[in-house]
Amino acid sequence: MNALFAAFRKDLLLQWRGRTQMVAIFAFGAAALLLFSFAIGPDSSALREHAAGFLWLGLLLASTLSLAESFECEMEEQALEGLLLLPASTRALYYGKAIANWAQLALLGMALVPVMVVLYDAGTLRLFSLLVVILLGTAGLSAPGTLYAAMTSQTRARQTLLPLLLFPLVVPVLLAAVKATSLVILGDPMEQYRPWITLLGAFAVIHWSIGGLLFGRVVED
């Protein structure tokens, strides 16, 4: 547990020291949100209807950058080898990094919400419901994302491989998060919010468990 906390603290500190990177990733996500509106045209009701989808697509695209970065820095000076020599389990390393990535993605998601509200006129006062969707959705992105980033950061075509592997896998997260966010923004007369949140939670639980089980094999061999 101590090792997990130390790993988490280390990754959070790394992110904080390299915060210009985070700002750049946020700018990338915001630029994507701006571009999506050009694809639809200046029809404000259509934009508002699709706002949730754009938010999550922007977040998903930006997440591949931040996930890849989280392992790219471990490849410099063979830092990963050094980490593995420490008397800490690989599971602690995985969860430390995955939680740090989760925190970063959740922060990114929350930062992109005001951009969405301004650009698409998609405001809501149900902030707590929105926060739950962002937390659970980014949890579902960060667990498999951290596992795959560990592999792809060591390959030749890493910029292509991470999205190629991650995107099909997180289709359920995208579907459920978009639906739930839409329900928060546009109103939920049929009470459908809860099943989508349950799906997000179930996805996160499953992938956080298998990620912890399999990560050791990925980095040790």
């Binding site: 099909p168 359920p172 094999r217």
Partner: protein, 238 residues
Amino acid sequence: MRASSARPIAFVAFGVALLLAGSWWGLAKAPGEVFMGDVQRIMYVHVPTAWNAMLALTFAFVCALCFLFTNAWKWDNRLEAGMEMGVVLSLLLCMQGSIWAKPTWGVWWDWDPRLTTTAVMVFAFGGILALRAFVDDPVKRAVWSSVACIVAFVDVPIVYFSVKWWNSLHQAQSTPQTVSSAFHLPLRINAFGILFLWVGLVGLRARVAALRRRGEMAPPLTQKQSATGRAPITGGAV
């Protein structure tokens, strides 16, 4: 070496023969369907392809588990072969489905759970094949593709249910119980035909994978061996 490839080739030949027989039966002898007419006859390859695509990917998943537990190379060979076969069959499944959907539903594509899940599977497992292509170290390649295969396979049911909640329009799965008895025989013959075909092809493909890795892991030629070989050494060798 010839003896070890005889059995897969026999499987392939038997599979092709069964497929020809079943397809002839389905196209010429079985009655047309009442509402869809001859379009429905694609079912004789479509439904067996669906069963076998799932079977091939399940086989790949089992190989991935076996590799992670035993570290035996034969499981990596089978994983590579089984995953390729699963992707090819899933791709065929999407194409057959589109060919059937255009005259029946009027569209090439529909966001129905099984169609969408199959497409997601093609990308998920195709991505793992791409990962294999970009990792040079055979050990890392084997471990990583096993891990990725397990994660992707576990994900398939979640994708299916999420898309099902999201949108649904497909008819219920075809099993011999839901299909009129006149259609049974060609369906079953083709199912076994495709089964034998892919098992034989996986056998051959696994051998190719084994030979390729043997080449990768062989020690580089020493100077003496090189000198006796055909390629002349022009310098740089120590």
